[in-house]
């Protein structure tokens, strides 16, 4: 039993406390500590990713209590993948926040940032349903703080909606967990799966209801129709690095669906195996259509990007709803791509908004921005990636998912809706690009020229580097598509092998201190 598997949870927590005490020494020290901790987390999670690729489940017994009685942390390929995505994203978002002085706009940015990572990593690693609830609350509380960071009227209003819907989600989560515990008598996910496998027929209805209630809760996190209404407003009005960090927050809901539902109601569940998938598939399709309409109707760039994130979540929901190893593998490939590119787009939208001065990110023609060619080039790159046009990774991700959909009875509907919504998004984004970069107010008059100089300011280098760093994952995903898809396939295979998961968790023996 290696202790390394528990460190992604403890490192951000410890770092958060240290940063809290470093607060008295001023911002520079906090920045250095936060960067170090996040970089350390990145190295740690890559190490864990390499370790987990053997296909073994690493079970860490907290407090040395054996599995169904104590809480476990579980590291497998899926959680290692999520940890790596989170830490890379966190590093980019943090560099951007520091370079643009976002952290100066309010107290405790760095502490909240580390606590958010603590909650995220905990949620990815835990193997206990109630513990998952606790980590959800930790990451939500940190995200409330980060969402409201910097203040502002619209931000506060969006924050209130976000907080209230997530508190409701927490209550529903507890109802679902309580019901499952009342019937199954356990909270350990592996043990629950084992108990569901031998569930008497008269209890199936209530467990199925609790499972769907749980799906509702994860649906709130993942912004699934009809629970996504909080999401565009919250993502639009928050600070850019926070919005970039939130690109992983919707994926937590997806991860929870894959982990909890995929395991408890996996192939071992007998009559109840995969009963929830048609809900995810149907709601995913609806979400996709509405997200595409949202992209078309958005009034500002940040809002548009928020809807693009919603569309990527919907595509992932479809992939998860298809429920084959092939589809899950494709979804994971798309998940890596969409998280990184969406975060990059949020940061880029912020760069564009501040370069345009008084016009911000509204869709009106403004003055030409400084470095328009570079920023425009980056914008075009990001749009090609996120809307799924060749030759970048969005295209390959979508192809993989659609390929997996071919065998599904709903394949006609899925293909039509995915391609149609993709088309709508491409048209809308092309319109946006034209408006932002071509239809500028010509600054021929000298008065305008000075005004332009005063209102639009060139951007520093590091923020752009953070965006480029996130965007570079897209060509990398294409270039190394073969090893990456091999990896995601093995992740999906491991996830679908519920038997081995249950066996690995329940057979893990505590470390015996008395043996020599």
């Amino acid at each position: 039993m290696s202790h390394l598997a528990a460190w992604p949870v403890f490192l951000p927590l410890i770092a958060g406390f240290i940063i809290l005490f470093a607060k008295a020494r001023g911002l520079p020290l906090q920045r250095v500590l936060n960067l170090l901790a996040t970089a350390g987390l990145m190295i740690l999670s890559i190490q864990l990713l390499i370790e987990s690729s053997s296909g073994e489940h690493q079970v860490y017994l907290l407090g040395n209590w054996q599995a169904p009685f104590g809480i476990i942390l579980l590291l497998d390929q899926l959680s290692a993948l999520m940890l790596t995505i989170t830490s890379v994203l966190a590093f980019a978002a943090l560099s951007y926040a520091i370079a643009t002085d976002t952290d100066k706009k309010g107290a405790h940015f760095h502490i909240l940032f580390q606590i958010l990572l603590f909650g995220l990593n905990g949620a990815f690693l835990t193997g206990d349903l109630f513990n998952l609830f606790v980590f959800f609350e930790v990451l939500l509380l940190a995200s409330y703080g980060l969402l409201l960071h910097g203040g502002g009227r619209l931000r506060t209003k969006a924050g209130l909606h976000y907080v209230v819907i997530n508190l409701l989600g927490a209550t529903l989560f507890l109802f679902a967990v309580g019901t499952l515990y009342g019937i199954l008598g356990t909270l350990n996910i592996a043990d629950m799966a084992a108990k569901v496998a031998v569930l008497p027929a008269e209890d199936r209805g209530i467990v199925a209801a609790a499972g769907l209630l749980l799906l509702l809760v994860f649906g709130i996190k993942a912004a699934m129709f009809p629970l996504y209404l909080w999401m565009p407003a919250a993502y639009t009005h928050t600070a850019a690095p926070v919005a970039a960090m939130f690109a992983i927050m919707t994926k937590v809901g997806l991860y929870a669906i894959i982990r909890v539902h995929g395991t408890i109601f996996g192939e071992t569940a007998g009559a109840m195996a995969h009963y929830y998938t048609q809900w995810i598939l149907g709601l995913g399709l609806l979400t996709l259509v509405l997200a595409a309409l949202g992209v078309m109707a958005a009034r500002g760039l940040r809002e548009q990007v928020a809807y693009l994130v919603l569309a990527s979540v919907a595509t992932l929901l479809i992939g998860v709803g298809l429920n084959t190893p092939l589809a899950l593998s494709a979804s994971l490939y798309y998940l890596i791509h969409s998280t990184m590119i969406a975060a990059g787009m949020f940061l880029l939208a912020d760069i564009i908004a501040s370069s345009r001065g008084p016009f911000s990110d509204r869709f009106e023609s403004g003055y030409a921005m400084p470095k328009a060619i570079l920023i425009g080039g980056m914008f075009m790159f990001g749009v090609i990636a996120i809307t799924g046009m060749p030759p970048l990774s969005g295209f390959f991700g979508k192809i993989l998912i659609l390929n997996a959909a071919l065998e599904h009875p709903w394949s006609g509907t899925i293909l039509t809706l995915v391609l149609l919504s993709g088309f709508i998004m491409i048209v809308s984004m092309a319109r946006t690009g034209t408006l932002l970069f071509y239809q500028v107010i010509p600054n021929t008059e000298s008065k305008n020229k000075t005004e332009t100089k005063a209102t639009t300011r060139p951007f520093k280098k590091i923020p752009r580097l953070a965006v480029i760093g996130l965007f570079i994952t897209s060509p990398l995903l294409v270039l190394f598509a073969q090893p990456i898809t091999t990896f995601t396939e093995s992740v999906a295979k491991q996830q679908f092998d519920t038997q081995r998961y249950i066996k690995a968790v329940l057979s893990q023996q505590p470390v015996n201190k008395e043996t020599p």
Partner: protein
């Protein structure tokens, strides 16, 4: 006793849901609190209702009550308490910044295109005075 507990959970939850759907922040906060109470009793009842049995190991005990839901309820109470405190502060901030306590944030601030203060608010005036009294 079962029907009493079930009734309590039902009443707490339904009033909680009703209040959460109100248009002003104060009833919403109250509603979420009642929902949290309801779910706490529910969690507790999921360990089955027993009388007079110990929750920790005791040589003389004939049977035990389930200790796990008690631990869960304790955790849930702490979390709900913290979240409610946060929500109250946030509601006050919203009231301060938006100039009213509407959940959908009808805002009449200076830098926003002004919404006319029309008759829209009229039906909810009674609610507003109620919540004012509640706050005092």
């Amino acid at each position: 006793m079962e029907w009493l507990i079930a009734l309590v959970i039902g009443v707490l939850t339904s009033t909680g849901v009703y209040l959460t759907l109100r248009a002003r922040t104060f009833p919403v906060v109250l509603g979420l609190t009642l929902l949290a109470y309801g779910v706490n009793v529910f969690l507790f009842a999921m360990g089955r209702l027993t009388i007079g049995y110990p929750a920790v190991i005791d040589a003389a005990a004939e049977a035990y009550s389930d200790p796990l839901p008690q631990a869960l309820v304790l955790t849930a109470i702490v979390i709900a308490f913290g979240m409610t405190a946060f929500l109250i502060v946030l509601s006050l901030k919203v009231r301060h910044e938006l100039g009213n306590d509407h959940v959908d944030g009808l805002h009449q601030s200076n830098d926003e295109p002004t919404l006319q203060k029309n008759k829209q608010h009229k039906p909810s005036h009674s609610v507003s005075s109620n919540s004012e009294q509640g706050r005092n």
